[in-house]
């Protein structure tokens, strides 16, 4: 009999640990001047330094240090007055020097925290995630294994190497162990990564695109019998690359480990790979055979000793914290908590805010982005903001407010803009989508409708107001939907003595 999630969580207490790798969006690489643009032709963004050619030497990218300090400050860390790079030695073809230059026992930021809020059965609850360290390192190149069925190195006919990514600055953010999340471990993990992503986006230090790998998460998880106060053996699930996957990886590991423990087996300390398709993990290399990385201080670089004055300037330059911003916008826009959550979850808070800044009213901006536009985006499996610009949406909403468009017409304008027919104004003119506001034309349509449905008109005259719906519908149909329904209703009722 295998345990289900609720049973698992009753018997065992999970402990989390999260390591997040963030690719910084600096223009040049960590230790050389090469460009960092995503998607360039293979091996076009390389030089003697990032190819690890004999004789080449690294020089630290100052912007990467600044970004790392900003991240540390935003996560309430202390900034180390003295930190160093080390060499992590291991052989792999996509690692040019066969060592990774990474901070090890002397990271640039230590001891911070991040508070995350999740919905629980007892209402919203804040969990504090303690941050152990934020450190800098360089990314490796990429291997592409050609031939063979799995795309993995075993069975491949040959491999191609692209060193464009080699040397891209990475920041690794490591939490301390996160205890006492109970059954909410998956949600807490997800909320943490989401909150971190929002902070990084706000700091403008990374593109934080999980699907492109500019934010990657490793999930550490262990179980101990509930109430034992012990710490179990952990597994590390690598490269979990979406928020949903973070949640799935945690719940999946809780189930897997609980069922192993339940059947008397031991948890092996190992690295596991997350499989996006199934949401399951498969074992990778066991930590017992882990390599000895022979870390030692990087002799080609001098220690990082940031000036205190500079740190204070950076602290002052920090943007508003995402949680604070959310509270402020909620009150400015007077929208319910639930709607704020919906916008954040849909990753459309920035977009809605930009739309509001262009003059749209908050409620309409929210409902257009989260409603019609998101619906089309979901159908086409794209991101809403890739379909239509903030400017176009703001213009459409403003036209609705000015009575130039009805909601129905506006939907057609949105369709036209998405279809590439031009700006909202161009779509309106091309498609002839103008609200019929000419009273004469409307009265003609109203009189036609009454003539066609005399019985209905009579019922309205005698006080049956809801019956007017059928007449209004006829008028709307006759005007091709270009009339303002409220205005039709007003004119019709007046005409029928109501």
């Amino acid at each position: 009999m295998s345990l289900n999630y609720d049973q698992a969580i009753q018997k065992y207490e999970p402990t989390l640990g999260l390591e997040v790798h963030v690719e910084l969006n600096t223009k040049s690489k960590m230790f050389c001047g090469c460009a960092t643009e995503f998607g360039a032709e293979p091996n076009t963004q390389t030089c003697p330094v990032c190819l690890g050619l004999p004789g080449a030497l690294p020089v630290v990218n100052q912007t990467a240090i600044e970004s790392s300090i900003l991240i540390g400050l935003a996560l309430n860390c202390s900034i180390a007055p003295f930190s160093r790079f080390a060499r992590k030695n291991y052989f792999y073809p996509d690692m040019p020097k066969n060592f990774q230059t990474s901070q090890y026992d002397e990271p640039i930021c230590v001891n911070g925290y991040l508070d995350v809020e999740i919905e629980t059965d007892e209402g919203n609850k804040v969990f504090r995630i303690d941050i152990e360290r934020v450190h800098m390192e360089e990314d490796t190149g990429k291997s592409l294994h050609v031939g063979g069925s799995t795309g993995r190195i075993h069975g491949a006919e040959y491999s191609l190497l692209d060193y464009n990514r080699a040397g891209i600055p990475l920041v690794e953010i490591v939490t301390k162990i996160v205890p006492n999340t109970g059954k909410y471990a998956p949600q807490v993990a997800r909320a943490y990564v989401a909150a971190l992503r929002d902070i990084l986006r706000g700091l403008k230090v990374s593109d934080v695109k999980m699907e492109q790998g500019s934010l990657r998460c490793d999930v550490n998880l262990s179980l101990a019998p509930s109430g034992s106060g012990e710490l179990g053996t952990r597994s590390e699930t690598k490269n979990v690359n979406s928020l949903r996957s973070v949640e799935t990886a945690v719940s999946g590991e809780i189930l897997r480990q609980a069922n192993r423990l339940q059947s008397g087996e031991k948890i092996v300390q190992e690295t596991r790979h997350f499989l996006e398709e199934s949401g399951q993990t498969r074992p990778g290399r066991s930590k017992e055979q882990a390599e000895d990385y022979r870390y030692f201080p990087e002799p080609d670089l001098v220690p990082v000793v940031p000036d205190n004055k500079w740190i204070e300037e950076l602290r002052k330059s920090l943007p508003e914290k995402p949680a604070d911003r959310r509270k402020r916008l909620q009150s400015e826009w007077s929208v319910p908590e639930k709607e704020m959550t919906a916008m954040v979850n849909a990753e459309l808070l920035d977009t809605v805010e930009e739309t509001v800044k262009l003059g749209a009213d908050p409620t309409k901006a929210r409902s257009w982005w989260l409603g019609e536009i998101s619906r089309i985006a979901n159908e086409r499996d794209v991101v809403a903001t890739e379909l239509i610009s903030v400017t176009a949406v703001a213009q459409i909403i403003n036209l609705i407010n000015q009575g130039e468009l009805t909601d129905k017409l506006a939907r057609q304008v949105v369709d036209g803009v998405i279809a590439g027919e031009g700006t909202p104004a161009e779509v309106i003119s091309k498609r002839g989508l103008k609200v019929v506001s000419d009273d004469g034309a409307l009265m003609k349509a109203i009189e036609d409708a009454i003539a066609a449905q005399p019985d209905t008109a009579e019922r309205v005259r005698s006080g049956n107001i809801p019956a007017a719906g059928a007449l209004i519908g006829a008028v709307m149909k006759a005007t091709g939907g270009q009339a303002d329904a409220a205005k039709v209703r007003e004119l019709l009722l007046k005409h029928l003595g109501q």
Binding site: A56, L57, V60, F91, D300
Partner: protein, 499 residues
């Protein structure tokens, strides 16, 4: 002027247009042609490149352009510095046929100064050795006695100077690789303060110890070359952003009156050849005659320098040499389509590296391993700090320190190649300077009476006080020259064509 002249004299003859840079380069190529089959100082000659460069200098001179002091003077470049398009092997089979796509900063500076690079000189593989016997391309022979070693690792550069194949050379010094070859060939070599000369493009053996430096036949020539290659380089994070001391002025001053010269007690006695100690003491006596004050200083931790060095250098080398994996450059062995990358890397490294290199990689890998790190690498770093403190204390009592450069004169080729520890002991007097990151010079101070072979005199300066070495070296050189009546290399047996 002849090929036996100093670089300074050659530069003057060029400036007076008595000879062209092309003619001067050709004279040296003729000498190389005549003697290098016996000496084997060079691994590669870049005749086309050098002559083209010489020609462009001549054109500029004819056009009346302002040129650097050494413009048109030829130089031999140790094969551990990369030169764009010119084969760079580091004396290793691993890099056979590799042509670097970029210039080392030192090479850029040489080119900018109009110095003509004749070719690349032989060396112990990846600069690991004290005899140049560890070159994958065969040993270099000491022009003083072709059956003997020219020192190492920069034996090729030193031998090229002593055999008049070039008046200037570049060496690199991790534990004595500039100074010990200078000592056993009666030439001058300087290891500048760590960070004084850029390491960008110097193929790393031990990053925290490596330093490129100037080699020549006179102290002034060495100073002129030092001035040409030194200075801050933004491409080398460990490069010092500080004005280069005026070493040329110091070399010309020839006045050591009142200067305090410290003799390091620990760098003498057991292990030092009698004739080496005698020549050293005679040189010290010359300095006293010139008005210098002699003090004896004690550096008790020097005893551990060799041990610390043979942990730190191999540790760094085990990591630095990891990049030689056949993936991006150099030779590739076993890539027949049936083997994986890891296997090809293994085969390539088995074939590509020589015994001494493998020995040090294994030593360093072990020293950095978890569980051993603190006892080996960690302790060695502590010793390094103690050695620095010894130097600090010594320099409170004196302006420079002196010692014999090497404990013995040149030994026979093959004599120590089966005994690595005996070989390592050759660097016992030069290693402390590298561990502390200071400056060190070797200049000839005579011939040992037992074997009539050259003895080197080492001068050590505090960091960024490199001018002091030149001050003392210039004065001592002048005194010894007047005592001998002719340059020391004139006492060397004549090689074919070296008249």
């Amino acid at each position: 002027m002849s090929i036996r002249s100093s670089a300074t004299e050659m530069a003057e003859a060029l400036a007076r247009k008595e000879i062209s840079a092309v003619e001067l380069a050709n004279q040296h190529y003729a000498q190389i042609e005549a003697v290098d089959k016996d000496v084997h100082a060079f691994l590669h000659l870049d005749k086309a490149g050098a002559l083209a460069q010489a020609e462009s200098i001549d054109k500029k001179r004819t056009a009346g352009e302002k040129l650097s002091p050494l413009a048109g003077v030829p130089l031999a470049l140790k094969d551990v510095l990369v030169q764009k398009g010119v084969p760079t092997t580091c004396g290793s089979k691993m890099l056979e046929g590799w042509r670097p796509p970029y210039d080392a900063t030192v090479v850029t500076k040489l080119k900018d100064a109009g110095i003509v690079i004749l070719g690349k000189t032989n060396m112990d593989e990846f600069a690991m050795g004290s005899s140049t016997e560890n070159s994958a391309y065969g040993p270099t022979h000491n022009p003083w006695d072709l059956t003997r070693i020219p020192g190492g690792s920069g034996g090729g550069s030193a031998a090229a100077l002593a055999a008049f194949e070039a008046p200037l050379a570049i060496g690199t010094d991790t534990g004595g690789s500039i100074r010990q070859p200078a000592a056993v060939t009666a030439t001058v070599g300087v290891k500048p303060t760590y960070g004084g000369v850029s390491r960008y493009g110097l193929v790393a053996f031990s990053s925290s110890l490596d330093q490129a430096g100037p080699c020549a036949r006179t102290v002034l020539d060495t100073a002129m070359l030092h001035q040409s290659i030194a200075g801050f380089d933004p491409k080398d994070s460990t490069s010092i952003n500080h004005a280069v001391p005026d070493v040329v002025a110091a070399a010309k001053k020839k006045d050591v009156k009142g200067l305090k010269i410290g003799i390091v007690k620990q760098l003498s006695g057991a292990g030092y050849q009698k004739g080496v100690e005698n020549k050293f003491n005679e040189a010290v006596a010359e300095l006293v005659k010139l008005g210098a004050e002699i003090v004896e200083v004690s550096c008790p931790n020097f005893e551990y320098a060799l041990a610390a060095y043979y942990l730190i250098a191999p540790s760094e080398c085990s990591s630095n040499l990891a990049r030689f994996d056949s993936m991006r450059f150099g030779i590739r062995i076993g890539d027949d389509g049936s083997k994986g990358a890891e296997e090809v890397m293994n085969l390539t490294r088995q074939v590509g590296f020589g015994r001494e290199v493998k020995r040090r990689i294994i030593l360093g890998t072990y020293a950095l391993s978890s569980g051993y790190y603190d006892a080996y690498y960690g302790s060695a770093q502590k010793v390094r700090t103690l050695i620095k403190r010894d130097f600090d204390a010594a320099f409170e009592q004196c302006d420079v320190l002196v010692s014999p450069t090497a404990p013995t004169t040149a030994f026979k080729i093959g004599e120590k190649s089966e005994d690595p520890l005996a070989m390592y002991l050759n660097d016992i007097a030069t290693i402390p300077v590298n561990l502390a990151g200071l400056g060190g010079m070797s200049l000839p101070c005579g011939l040992a009476e037992e074997d009539n072979l050259p003895v080197g005199f080492q001068i050590m300066s505090p960091a960024m006080k490199d001018d002091r070495m030149y001050l003392v070296g210039g004065a001592l050189e002048a005194a010894l020259l007047s005592k001998w009546g002719k340059p020391i290399l004139d006492f060397a047996p004549s090689l074919v064509g070296s008249k």
